[in-house]
């Protein structure tokens, strides 16, 4: 059977056929303060190339599944798929990518590339909305996600639209992190780390950063040599510095190395605007509170929480089988503020849901007691606590203004 399929495929490669897939392959909308001005920042351009590679990786797996007798894809498979930046539309930044000469590729290729695109779309939506990947998503393609979205900063996201679906996928650093932590052994991320420079290897242009008990090797370019030397900590002391660059993390989200250092700062240096995506402030002393406030400190758990809230904000009216109001942005923003800075242990116990009335509900449980907090569009908050063992109940009506009280209920319950 496999041999017949291979033969059929070989024949097909010799005869070009027309394709039905529209030339426009994908549209991405880049959202964030960097993209509010006209033009597209050049440092984001690599994302488009990585996206193309991601589609090819997934397509290769799909092709081999379809033709199980094959060990590798046909010659020219990857090369037949090339995206071109057709134009950049207005409205944040909207790069429109088209296939280059799609009609010269055999139809088998086309179909697989389109399937690949749709599967990538499903993976992103799945990760963003439920933290789950499609069962048929190839595990080896997750490695490509470690490179896709690496330049995205806090608050930025890519909205990806494909012609085959009306539903866009929202790809942010948080979604990327969910994908990374799901199966991979490690990943890299544009980030910053606070620590002490306690060693320097000039031959390898590498310095050693002490972050708590960990020693993290950091590779830098020669132009940073003077800076590294000036920040080198003397024995038993020294100033904490913030190292920015491409950081490698292990599967637990802990930094293991910095393969590329883009800058080294102390509070006096006033690093340029634009908070890094993740900040690991392991060795912090009080005088560095300012720099840490500027950075967005976020863990995998909080990233998932905020991504969940983002997904709820995207719900259209009728999200519950034609029932359900769209979720109030005011409520989303309020809950986001409420949950910000909460300890991971608390966040990991809280489950977040939309409500039919357009609000957000938090639910959690301890022992035999079920708790809920309803945040309503009219800015009221309903706290409910029921001990299913004893039958005792507590209900409290609060408002958005009772921020601290609500937080105490959430943390202290």
């Amino acid at each position: 059977m496999a041999a017949q399929e291979n033969l059929a495929f070989t024949a097909a490669t010799r005869y070009s056929r027309g394709v039905t897939e529209p030339t426009q392959f994908v549209t991405m909308r880049l959202t964030g303060s960097r993209f509010e001005h006209s033009g597209m920042p050049v440092d984001v351009l690599p994302e488009l190339a990585v996206y193309q590679e991601l589609i090819v990786t997934v397509a290769r797996e799909l092709f081999l599944r379809r033709y199980p007798g094959r060990q590798r894809v046909p010659r020219g498979f990857a090369e037949s798929f090339q995206l071109r930046l057709e134009r950049v539309d207005k409205g944040s930044v909207v790069p429109v990518l088209e296939r280059v000469n799609p009609d010269v590729a055999p139809p088998e290729f086309d179909k697989v590339f389109v399937e690949s695109r749709d599967l990538v779309q499903s993976a992103i939506i799945g990760a963003a909305t439920s933290g789950r990947l499609p069962v048929d998503f190839p595990g080896n393609a997750l490695a490509d996600f470690s490179r896709f979205g690496r330049t995205l900063r806090a608050g930025e996201f890519l909205e990806i639209k494909v012609p085959s679906s009306a539903r866009p996928a929202r790809y942010s650093a948080a979604v990327r992190r969910i994908l990374m932590t799901s199966k991979l052994n490690g990943y890299t991320q544009e980030a910053s780390i606070n620590g002490l420079i306690t060693g320097l290897n000039t031959e390898q242009t590498r310095f050693q950063l002490r972050v708590g008990p960990r020693l993290i090797p950091c590779s830098f370019e020669a132009n940073l040599y003077e800076t590294v030397v000036s920040k080198l900590a003397p024995p038993g002391g020294g100033d904490v510095v913030t190292v920015e660059g491409i950081v490698a993390f292990d599967s637990d989200g802990q930094p293991t190395s910095v393969p590329f250092v883009s800058g080294i700062f102390t509070p006096e240096d006033d690093p340029d605007e634009g908070a890094p995506i993740f900040s690991f402030s392991v060795t912090v002393n009080s005088e560095f509170s300012e720099i840490n406030d500027r950075a967005l400190s976020i863990s995998a758990i909080s990233a998932r929480v905020f991504e969940r809230l983002t997904a709820l904000a995207d719900l259209s009216p009728g999200w519950l089988d034609d029932e359900g109001e769209s979720i109030s942005k005011d409520v989303i923003d309020h809950v986001r503020r409420l949950l910000r800075d909460l300890h991971d242990k608390v966040l990991s116990e809280v489950y977040i849901y939309p409500t039919l009335e357009g609000g957000v509900r938090l639910e959690w449980q301890r022992s035999s007691t079920e708790f809920s907090l309803d945040f309503r569009p009219d800015r009221t908050v309903l706290y409910d606590e029921i001990d299913l063992g004893t039958g005792s109940e507590t209900e409290r009506q609060l408002s958005f203004d009772d921020f601290k009280d609500v937080r105490v209920l959430l943390v202290g319950a």
Partner: protein, 146 residues
């Protein structure tokens, strides 16, 4: 819970389920699922349910209940189970209405019609707890782009 209830009168061809160990099949909408845990909202009737929380009898497998639900045009993240005794302990009752004309095969509902808003909240939380202690009986397909 467990207080005496004033249930509405049943319609013709409806019957109260009495086998407490029977596990009713309940579908959970994907938006009411976070990190694999359903909301208590998935275990309370919405406006269109008119106080009757829709389920399928145990005679229908969890997988069939899920697939039937999708075939009827509704979304589901999977099938969870609630026992008849749990429904009773939550001050509700389970009613078989599969013999009523126009009702889907092996359909049953958990009756909330006699409860007030506060009582509904309490019962829904009890049913949710019963369901999550049992775990998902049939997991649905992951999110799609459609």
């Amino acid at each position: 819970m467990g207080s005496e209830q004033l249930f509405r009168e049943l319609g013709g061809n409806e019957s109260v389920l009495t086998e407490g160990v029977e596990i009713l099949r309940r579908q959970v909408h994907p938006n009411f699922l976070d990190r694999g845990q359903p909301s208590s909202q998935a275990f309370r009737p919405t406006m269109k349910d008119a106080g009757c929380l829709s389920t399928r009898r145990e005679a229908m497998s969890a997988k069939d209940a899920y697939e039937t639900h999708l075939a009827e045009g509704f979304a589901s993240a999977g099938t969870w189970g609630v026992s008849v005794s749990a429904a009773n302990e939550a001050d509700c009752r389970a009613v078989d209405d599969s013999q009523v004309a126009g009702t889907p095969d092996r359909h049953a509902y958990i009756d909330f019609r006699h409860l007030s808003g506060r009582q509904i909240e309490r019962s829904a939380k009890a049913l949710k707890r019963n369901a999550i202690e049992r775990g998902c009986l049939h997991e649905g397909a992951p999110a799609s782009t459609s």
